[in-house]
């Protein structure tokens, strides 16, 4: 395989053997965990900051504005300045709030998104854990965030927060189904839930092209459902600004608010990563049939770049709807899920199973 030149497995093996030669197996694992933890945390923070900046720029572009352009070249340090401000700002104590749950909620939200990121393959051999049920793990873990949202709404002792949290609960529980089912469509095609396997299976064609129309439908459904699951516009009912002021995080300030804010962007990143991994070939380069010269040039672009480009393409799509669509109402949101997306999804799975059974896919 040509992309082996960018294989990270040998690099990680080399570090592993180096560490094992110099210390006991127990300490090797401790040191490796520390390294991975620090790397992921750094990555998480950098991506989070970058996404906030990207959203501002994209939104400014959609709205005939310039966006941040004062702090640093093209305003790239604006988000860092904002983060520093959020770190220094006073945490306003809330009267009659359930203190323990109130403080716990942002951590649950951020931990859920932090755990999900561990399973995502960024390039060949570049992931923290390669579980054999990777896809299932990511869905399960990222759905945990709703507990944080519900706790935040409940413990804030604010009526707007409670309405926001209840909406969010109804929304995430419903849309989780569509997210899961649309991914199952692809799992049927790939025959595996392991994310690295799914990526490798797309070496000769991304699933969105390989799986005929059902894969394309699944991609659209996934995009809609995952936007809803991350509570982003046009499905941002949980924090509907014009109705509920800020929804479940109305009462949060300072760094606790920043946690919710960061988690929202990271959830978007995770969802986009999964879309890129499962439908758009993950870190696989773009290949066209027998155009060997073209395919060869594509192979020289590092897989990590492919992965990032695809992810940001999906993120851009999500930002695009957010800034151009008005918000749905709660009953329309649930109608969309239960009356349209779910039946479409179920039929889609049937068609996909049939195609796989007959061996009609490429």
């Amino acid at each position: 395989m040509p992309f082996d030149i960018y294989d990270f497995t040998s690099f990680t093996k080399w570090i592993d053997t180096g560490l094992q030669n110099s210390m006991s197996p127990f300490w090797t694992i401790v040191v490796e965990m520390l390294i991975i933890g620090v790397l992921i945390l750094t990555f998480y923070a950098l991506i989070g900051l970058f996404l906030v900046y990207a959203e501002r720029k994209v939104c400014a572009f959609m709205q005939n504005r310039l966006g941040p352009n004062r702090v640093g070249p093209f305003g790239i340090f604006q988000t860092i300045a904002d983060l520093v401000k959020l770190l220094l700002v006073e945490l306003i104590p809330i009267k009659n709030a359930d203190k323990f749950l109130f403080n716990l909620a942002p951590f649950i939200v951020i931990i859920a998104s932090f755990m999900a990121i561990a399973a995502i393959p960024f390039a060949k051999g570049l992931h923290a854990i390669d579980l054999n049920i990777g896809l299932f793990y990511v869905i399960a873990v990222s759905a945990m965030g709703v507990i944080g949202v519900l706790l935040a709404g409940w413990s804030s002792n604010n009526k707007y927060s409670l309405i926001g949290a209840m909406r969010s609960g109804a929304q995430i529980v419903s849309y989780e189904l569509s997210v899961g089912l649309s991914l199952i469509t692809v799992v049927i095609l790939a025959g595996s839930m392991q994310l690295s396997e799914i990526v490798l299976a797309q070496a000769d064609g991304w699933f969105i092209f390989k799986g005929h129309i059902p894969a394309f439908i699944a991609f659209i459904v996934f995009l809609v459902a995952s936007t809803a699951e991350t509570n982003r516009g046009p499905f941002d009912l949980a924090e509907a600004e014009s109705e509920l002021t800020a929804g479940y995080h109305t009462e949060y300030s300072g760094i606790k608010f920043a946690f919710f804010f960061l988690a929202e962007y990271m959830n978007m990143f995770i969802v986009a990563s999964i879309a890129a991994t499962v439908f758009l070939g993950g870190w696989m380069p773009f290949h066209v049939g027998h155009w060997d010269g073209f395919n060869h040039i594509m192979d020289f672009i590092p897989p990590f770049i492919w992965y990032i480009v695809k992810t940001f393409f999906v993120i851009f799509l999500m930002m695009w709807f957010k800034w151009t669509f008005p918000r749905l109402r709660i009953d329309q949101l649930l109608t969309l899920e239960w009356k349209y997306l779910l039946p479409i999804n179920l039929v889609n799975i049937l068609i996909m199973s049939f195609i796989v059974l007959m061996g009609w896919h490429y």
């Binding site: 939104c59 959609m62 709205q63 005939n64 504005r65 009526k159 707007y160 309405i163 909406r167 516009g233 046009p234 941002d236 009912l237 509907a240 600004e241 014009s242 109705e243 002021t245 800034w323 151009t324 669509f325 008005p326 918000r327 749905l328 109402r329 709660i330 009953d331 329309q332």
Partner: protein, 373 residues
């Protein structure tokens, strides 16, 4: 005991939230006490008066030219039209014949005011529904009218361009060219509004059949302006009781029958087009002549009662003056459209969702200082 349990668990139990005085979708300091059953609105009780300045009482101690500047602060988005109402009333009382030039310029300015008001309404209505981009599109185009105002009147929002007997000063030499440029530009850009919002499926779902106001209710509550006309209430003062130069232009009174939020929206979009038609007819035919009539330094109205109504961007504004022959009026009453239109909010938003309440309130287009005065 059983009563208490019933009170807590029964159908009557209400979840009361205070929307406002500080809330993003009330566009000012309006407080709506909303009783909810889950997400469903059971009752809306508007509490007003947070920006009450006692304008009508203030008018009793100031002179007529001063009143004009005060009326800017009522419905600040139709500032010019409010001025015009007072001026027309004073002129009617004094039986002054106003030069044609003044009439035409007043009409053009009024229509420009109407367009900019509807642009801002469109911008904020989009924002109420969660489409934040609309806000910037609306304000971008409104800025062009503001620039025209700034050049001619010196003010952008609160223009104070009228005075009894005519205008404060003549139009700027660029006025006609810039207005024509704007009309040309806005004709091209208005379909963009439709692409962004009107044609959107989510938008249609959010507004169609929501907050339906029947013709009977519109008439009995006195809902005027685009909100009333969307219900089929033919209430355009420009048509039925023409003032300034409205009797010499051809325009269509925008009427719909449905009366829901969607049609209130369409009525305003259509009205912008009609306003552009009116300006088109007048902008090249501004007659020559003086821009104001020479008035006495102290204006005293003869004893009596005077009423003048005009069509602002929100509906019918009535100015009622009782004069006892002094330089101050004895009593002034403004019939402001926002206040009357607000009265219908509880009637039409009952049994809809809280998100619909925001849409309905947005489509009725309140300006809070106009409600409170």
């Amino acid at each position: 005991m059983e009563e208490t349990i019933k009170e807590i668990t029964g159908e009557d139990q209400k979840y009361v939230i205070n929307m406002g005085p500080q809330h993003p979708s009330t566009h000012g300091v309006l407080r709506l006490v909303v009783s909810l059953k889950g997400e469903i609105v059971r009752n809306v009780e508007p509490h007003i008066g947070y920006v009450h300045r006692g304008m009508e009482k203030m008018c009793e101690s100031i002179t007529y030219p001063q009143i004009i500047h005060l009326t800017d602060r009522m419905d600040y988005l139709s500032a010019h039209i409010n001025n015009e109402a007072v001026c027309l009333n004073v002129e009617k009382a004094l039986e002054i014949d106003i030069p044609d030039r003044v009439r035409v310029i007043r009409t053009i300015m009024s229509e420009l005011t109407r367009i900019q008001s509807h642009q801002l309404w469109w911008a904020s209505f989009g924002m109420d529904l969660g489409g934040l981009t609309c806000f910037f599109y609306g304000l971008r185009d409104r800025e062009k009218i503001m620039d025209i105002f700034e050049e001619t009147c010196g003010g952008r929002l609160i223009v104070s361009y009228n005075c009894p007997g005519g205008l404060m000063y003549d139009i700027h030499p660029n006025f006609q060219k810039r207005t024509k440029d704007f009309i040309k530009y806005f004709r091209k850009i208005l379909p963009e509004y439709d692409q962004l919002l009107t044609g959107n499926v989510i938008f249609k779902e959010r507004t169609r059949g929501i907050g339906r106001l029947s013709l009977e209710d519109a008439i009995s509550y006195g809902v005027t302006g685009p909100s009333g006309r969307a219900s089929g209430f033919s209430c355009d003062v420009r048509k039925h009781d023409p003032y300034s130069a409205y009797d010499r232009v051809n325009f269509r009174e925008v009427l719909f029958n449905d009366g829901d939020t969607y049609h209130r929206y369409l009525a305003r979009i259509e009205e912008m087009k009609e306003s552009m038609n009116i300006i088109d007819q007048l902008i090249d035919n501004i007659p020559e002549g003086p821009f104001a009539v020479k008035m006495k330094p102290v204006i005293k109205l003869p004893e009596g009662e005077y009423y003048q109504r005009v069509e602002t961007a929100r509906g019918e504004l009535g100015v009622f003056i009782i004069s006892d022959g002094n330089k101050n009026p004895y009593r002034v009453k403004f019939r402001s459209p926002s206040f009357v239109n607000l009265s219908v909010l509880n009637l039409i938003s009952k049994d809809f969702k809280i998100a619909d309440l925001v849409a309905i309130a947005g489509s009725l287009d309140f300006v809070i200082p106009d409600i409170d005065r």
